[in-house]
């Protein structure tokens, strides 16, 4: 069967279609507005937030795929977590399509979407699995049971790891997004040059904290203000920060693997594009003999194909096209 995915929870307006057959998911097509806007048809700069709120972007995208959309068997839409006005654009479009095409409507959690990106165009991961979600807005560890249910094990209590990357990049006057800029600079630096804190490293629970790391980098920069222009100093800050940020993820992931016997380790979210994270999780997966799944680089950011993928696993949980509402918060497992 064919599942249409719609995603408007964050910065991207996205529309995609997946084929679901014999438990396998195949990408048919996947459009993302922030990439598509480069195309001449959109012309000029598209203010993303305004566009998605006014539905204009989505309407244009739906129009461009109208022949394909009439062939879908179900419609999956991100219903949360996210900013309600943004979510509503996608939800209202999905409700209208579901009603007019008389197809089932599936409300999908954006976070589950990131997890199910690991099912696309590959052999399905074995369950149970440990899930690590890392992005600008999320830092979460969860257990995914054999039945596909989620149990939240830990989450950030303040800043998300991707946000820490962006804010430290800002402190170093690097560009946005900060992740790739920090990683590039970090390659030239010494990871042990500064001893930045690893949030909750010695606590038994599986929650994260990145606010202290951010402040610690800030204090170090203020203390060495005269060296802000020095490339070696900057590279050392970037390298030491990156090491601390990724270390904090690994400390808790290791603890979770010690506590829970799983077959796979599934990663999701924008920070999974980070090279150090990819290398360190590969080592950890080897050590615990679990199957590591990292999303393809093009699927690390927000997209709609992952929403279609998650929808495929919720065909028995249909939503009412007249009453479905946006959920600003929607923790994994609830």
């Amino acid at each position: 069967m064919r599942i249409l995915g719609i995603e408007t929870s964050c910065d991207e307006t996205a529309l995609a279609c997946a084929e679901f057959q014999d438990g396998k998911l195949t990408t048919l097509w996947s459009d993302i507005a922030s990439q598509m806007k480069k195309h001449a048809e959109f012309g000029g700069v598209v203010p993303e937030v305004a566009a998605r709120l006014h539905l204009e972007l989505l309407s244009t995208m739906l129009q461009a795929r109208k022949d394909e959309i009439v062939t879908v068997d179900a419609i999956a839409v991100t219903a949360g977590p996210g900013l309600k006005p943004a979510l509503r654009s996608g939800i209202e479009a999905a409700k209208t399509l579901a009603w007019t095409l008389q197809k089932p409507l599936i409300a999908v959690s954006h976070l589950e979407g990131h997890v199910y990106a690991n099912w696309l165009d590959q052999r399905p991961p074995a369950l149970p699995a440990l899930v690590l979600l890392v992005s600008g807005g999320h830092t979460e560890l969860a257990l995914m049971g054999e039945d596909g249910s989620f149990t939240l094990l830990g989450e950030t209590l303040d800043d998300a790891v991707g946000e820490a990357f962006d804010k430290v990049a800002k402190m170093l006057s690097l560009g946005y997004p900060g992740g790739p800029a920090i990683s590039k600079l970090a390659k030239e630096g010494d990871r042990a040059a500064f001893a930045f804190p690893r949030g909750f490293a010695n606590e038994d629970h599986l929650n994260f904290s990145y606010s202290g790391l951010k402040t610690s980098v800030l204090y170090t920069l203020r203390k060495h203000e005269d060296q802000l222009g020095d490339l070696t100093f900057r590279a050392n800050i970037a390298a030491s920060f990156e090491a601390a940020a990724i270390d904090a993820l690994m400390i808790k992931t290791r603890k979770a693997l010690e506590k829970h016997e799983v077959k796979s380790l599934l990663l999701g979210g924008g920070v999974t594009a980070n090279g150090l994270l990819r290398a360190r999780t590969a080592e950890l997966a080897d050590e615990f003999d679990v199957d590591l799944r990292l999303p393809e680089l093009k699927l690390t950011g927000d997209n709609a194909i992952m929403i279609a993928a998650a929808g495929a696993f919720h065909l028995e949980h249909l939503s009412n096209p007249f009453t479905l509402e946006a959920r600003s918060t929607w923790p994994l497992g609830s």
């Binding site: 203010p47 937030v49 305004a50 709120l53 006005p85 962006d166 804010k167 606010s211 918060t329």
Partner: protein, 146 residues
């Protein structure tokens, strides 16, 4: 009023005093550099209003909402305009619709754009000092004892 705080506990005590003065319906601007402790101040306020869950940074989510039961205040909105680059984007959020006499709204980076889009009733300025923070609270319609 202004106060120097050295520890997060002192920030929390100040937050406790601060929320007692709120009547509901206020918009509170939070002004301070990256890492100044704007979210930490909101966390202190929410804790003082009896909220027990995690108070996460709204930088990426733009807005986090909390339900509390603190006198007339039942809802707390915590916004961050840091990532916005166009006035249209903020206007499209229809922030005015969120106003309610039983809600208070904290706004981080209210001046991210040159245009004045937010009219705060209270301004909380946080400055990083050698040791700790200097927190200054001011508002036309608002007098804080101390």
């Amino acid at each position: 009023m202004q106060k120097r705080v050295k520890t997060i506990e002192e920030t929390n005590l100040l937050a406790m005093e601060f929320v007692k003065m709120l009547k509901g319906g206020e918009t509170i601007a939070l002004i301070g550099d990256l890492g100044a402790g704007k979210t930490a101040f909101v966390r202190g306020c929410l804790a003082a209003m009896g909220f027990e869950g995690a108070v996460k940074s709204p930088t990426f989510t733009v807005m986090n909402e909390y339900d509390v039961d603190f006198g007339r205040i039942q809802h707390v909105q915590h916004l961050d305009l840091y990532r916005f680059t166009l006035a249209d984007e903020i206007e499209a959020m229809h922030l005015g619709d969120l106003h309610a006499p039983n809600a208070i709204m904290f706004v981080e980076w209210p001046n991210v754009l040159e245009e004045e889009l937010i009219r705060p009733d209270i301004e909380v300025r946080i400055e990083i000092e050698e040791e700790g923070r200097r927190i200054e609270i001011a508002g036309d319609r608002f007098q804080l004892a101390g």
